[in-house]
């Protein structure tokens, strides 16, 4: 019981900070941090896959696209309210992840990376081609639709009047925190151990009775569902989707985020999400050129592999270990 | 007889596991020396220490000069190490395997050398383009020996040449090794599970136990010592 005490207190403190934050910052900042929450959801999912089972995916941008488009289509063509599209997007994307997970079973390491890379690159072209469904190259515009909460008039929640950005912030962070807890519950105990066993040695896991097929596919489905939720929130946030909203760069960025966060630990993920959101802005301060963020991402990724193969979480872990002595 | 190879207090480890705990031995020039002992005693590790394919400390000298700089340097200095499992380049053909044996030698005499080596293993002449992985175990062992000879080594190190081979084939291989030693003065350090056949060929031997030299002496002494035979050599 004592082991839970410190993390629970920390988590409670986090919730308080998150809830109170918008009162102290501008509307614009709140929006930026809403995006942090969105990336956090995606990273939590990707972490289940990459950190826990050791499978590399360069395709989670594509899963976000599925979630985003599901939400957009449901809202624009079927009049579903934005909030209700989120679990639907999760289901659809989770199913897609599950379907992909089945053939993906046969692929290991590099080949999986290659296959997911292929999917992420193909997605925009496929979205463009099936115009009737997806609105083709011009995408789907959600701005001003009544299904989008708070887009026309401020939303009233619990007696508070929320502007669009603030409402967005609270929506995203609520979803993020709930996702965090859900993942935590999933990963402790048997499932988490099984997933880690798959990462450390597939053959060993198999011979100790862990059904590889089940856990690898599960990991894919879960991480896809999370990406779908993130995509859904993304569509709501940007009020617009088109094939270029979720490019291959996004998939790579998510991988960078999960690597920097520290493969395998939930602790660094918030740091990773902050990194993903703010890095392009910091990079712009170093150089105005559009190429600057990519250079910075690349350098950081390479340096992280040299200096901190376990990412930020590894660093924190080592610091904590030193403190305990 | 001066020592071609000397090991002084050599230690070696695989990660946290210490495999050699201070081994000292000598291989006189022009002689065959055997390293014997049970599985896990450190025999293979001793050879690996010489070719520096394992982390080691202690002094190792070849012809009075210290051996350093990794396996490539050892090969250049004239050490031909035929590892456990023969080390055949299975995807390359027989001729290419032989050419690789001559890698450290400058000049383009490879074809002439292949002729020289084929004198010891006549079947090689006909099988030049055969993929080495399709050779039988005995043929691969002979190919490995031939490959080692291509570099005109000062020291030939053989790791368990009898492994997985039929007795008849093993006897043939040791016969060739003895002849190479007798006719060309080739110095040989051989690690063997089969103590009997090794002692027949060698002039002296070291018996390892748990990473240290337990018994050493001339082959004749060890052969005649029943106690040693029974407790260390299994016969």
């Amino acid at each position: 019981m004592r082991r839970l005490a410190l993390p629970l207190v920390a988590f409670a403190a986090l919730i308080v900070v998150v809830m109170v934050f918008p009162a102290f910052v501008s509307d614009f900042r709140a929006q930026q941090f809403a995006y942090v929450a969105i990336y956090l959801v995606a990273l939590i999912g990707l972490n289940v896959l990459t950190g826990y089972t050791g499978q590399i995916s360069l395709g989670h941008g594509a899963f976000m696209a599925i979630g985003g488009y599901t939400t957009a289509i449901l809202m624009a063509d079927h009049g579903v309210k934005d909030i209700w599209t989120i679990p639907l997007a999760a289901l659809v994307t989770g199913a897609a992840g599950f379907l992909f997970g089945i053939p993906a079973l046969r692929l290991s390491g590099l080949y999986l990376a290659l296959a997911t890379f292929a999917i992420a690159v193909a997605m925009p072209a496929v979205l463009k081609r099936f115009e009737g469904f997806t609105g083709g190259g011009s995408g789907i515009n959600l701005f001003g639709t009544p299904e989008l909460t708070a887009s026309l008039t401020p939303q009233s929640v619990l007696g508070f009047e929320l502007s669009f950005n603030n409402w967005l912030y609270y929506l995203c962070w609520t979803v993020a925190l709930v996702s965090y807890v859900a993942a935590w519950l999933l990963l402790r105990g048997r499932t988490g151990r099984a997933l880690r066993a798959v990462r450390d040695s597939e053959t060993a896991a198999q011979s100790s009775g862990v059904s590889l097929a089940r856990y690898k596919t599960l990991a894919f489905a879960v991480s896809a569902a999370y990406a779908g939720v993130a995509g859904s929130l993304f569509a709501i946030a940007t009020t617009f989707v088109n094939p270029d909203t979720f490019p291959i760069a996004l998939s790579i960025t998510l991988l960078v985020g999960v690597v920097v966060a520290g493969l395998g630990s939930l602790v660094g993920l918030i740091a990773g999400a902050v990194f993903v959101q703010f890095l392009p802005l910091w990079a712009q301060e170093i150089s105005r050129s559009p190429g600057a963020p990519a250079v910075v991402y690349g350098v950081i990724l390479i340096l992280t592999m040299f200096v901190l193969p376990m990412g930020a979480a590894g660093l924190v872990g080592r610091m904590l270990a030193k403190l305990r002595r | 007889m001066s020592a071609l190879l000397e090991l002084h207090d050599v230690e070696a480890r695989y990660g946290p596991v210490q495999a050699l705990r201070g081994v000292s031995l000598e291989v006189p020039e022009g002689e065959i020396v055997a390293v014997l002992g049970a599985n896990g005693a450190g025999k293979t590790t001793t050879l690996r220490a010489v070719s520096e394919t394992v982390r080691r400390s202690g002094r190792i000298e070849l012809g009075g000069k210290p051996l350093r700089g990794g396996p490539e340097a050892a090969a250049k200095a004239g050490v031909a190490h035929v590892p456990e499992g023969r080390g055949t380049f299975t995807e390359l053909d027989v001729t290419e395997n032989l050419r690789l044996g001559a890698y450290t030698r400058r000049g383009r005499r490879a074809d002439a050398d292949i002729e020289r080596v084929a004198a010891w293993f006549p079947w090689i002449r006909e099988r030049g383009t055969q993929r080495a992985g399709t050779l039988s175990g005995g043929e691969q062992q002979m190919l490995a020996l031939a490959r080692a000879l291509m570099s005109r080594p000062r020291l030939l190190m053989l790791d368990e040449p009898s492994l997985g081979l039929a007795p008849l084939v093993v006897r043939e291989i040791f016969r060739i090794v003895r002849e190479l030693n007798a006719q060309e003065g080739l110095t040989v350090l051989v690690v063997e599970q089969d103590a009997r056949i090794a002692l027949d060929a060698a002039s002296s031997a070291y018996v390892l136990e748990v990473g240290k030299v337990a018994v050493s002496g001339s082959a004749g002494e060890l052969r005649e010592n029943e106690a040693v035979r029974r407790s260390y050599l299994g016969y």
Partner: protein, 294 residues
């Protein structure tokens, strides 16, 4: 019939470009077990260097071509020694992430140095067509096929008939045993990276005249190269060449004759090839089944 032949030849030309880059990928994978995600960006960078030499410094095409190849070789060796080698002891995942980092770094660097403008690049070959047997073939296409063919032939000679080539092959398949015969395996791997960079540069320089020069020059071609390498067998150089040519011709023909696909879906078709091959026979046409030792 004439139309069909034209499509085939032009497909062979694109295929030759895919094959070159695929060969680069295979070289590196054979030697180090790594897929170099940055291969395309390295090629783009080389192509920009060639462009700078000819446009900003007024060099003639072929001297610039050769110098670019030399610089690319050095670059490939450098990348291996500095960025890859220190990470080789870790998991393959680590090295792959480094190559992704390189991809980002080089892509950004190209934009930083030369800006993202799309540029037209002059071709070394005349843009006319030549008449063979009553059918008009583009000299550009024939030239591309010729250059790629010559490159592959030279490489083949290197690997089959020289001591260095033999050492590189040995280092790729049995690094431990290669060390024992005195081969400096790490340097052989660096040479492999250098040669791969040269192949990439050739692919880039051949592609630029038709596809225009911009930072994303090689992005799509990298995907086609992946498809070709996977199709042919990711450890098989022959597979890379055959796969590349087959893919080039196949995509061209499908694009021309199958309406549903048209020009837009060529990329997804290639990706479908990747997925199908990986699921059905991961070792590709010329590859061997991988046995996992317990």
């Amino acid at each position: 019939m004439g139309d069909f032949l034209q499509q085939v030849v032009s497909g062979l030309a694109s295929g030759a470009i895919y094959a070159s880059l695929a060969l680069a990928l295979v070289l590196i994978h054979r030697a180090t077990g790594v897929i170099n995600f940055a291969q395309g960006e390295m090629a783009t960078f080389s192509t920009y260097v060639a462009w700078t030499l000819t446009t900003n410094h007024g060099w003639q095409y072929w001297p610039a071509f050769v110098v670019t190849l030399l610089l690319s070789f050095a670059g490939g060796v450098g990348v291996h020694q500095v960025a890859i080698r220190p990470n080789e002891k870790g998991s393959v995942l680590r090295v792959v992430i480094v190559t992704i980092g390189l991809l980002l770094l080089l892509n950004g660097l190209v934009t930083l140095i030369w800006s993202g403008e799309v540029r037209a690049v002059q071709s070394p070959f005349p843009t006319r067509t030549i008449d063979i047997g009553g059918v008009a073939f583009s000299i550009q296409d024939l030239g591309t096929i010729g250059v790629a063919f010559a490159t592959v032939a030279l490489l083949w000679l290197l690997f089959q008939y020289t001591k260095l080539g033999l050492a590189m092959r040995a280092a790729a398949v049995n690094p431990a045993e290669a060390r024992l015969v005195g081969v400096r395996v790490t340097w052989m791997l660096s040479l492999g990276w250098g040669l791969a960079a040269v192949l990439g540069a050739i692919a880039g320089m051949l592609a630029a005249p038709s596809v225009f020069l911009d930072p994303n020059l090689m992005a799509a071609i990298l995907i086609y190269a992946f498809a070709a390498a996977v199709l042919g067998g990711i450890d098989s150089p022959l597979g890379a060449v055959v796969g590349g040519l087959a893919l080039g011709v196949g995509l061209n023909l499908i694009g021309a004759y199958v309406d549903f696909v048209g020009a837009d879906l060529r990329l997804p078709v290639a990706l479908l090839v990747i997925l199908v091959v990986l699921v059905v026979k991961p070792s590709g046409i010329f590859g061997k089944r991988e046995v996992r030792k317990v």
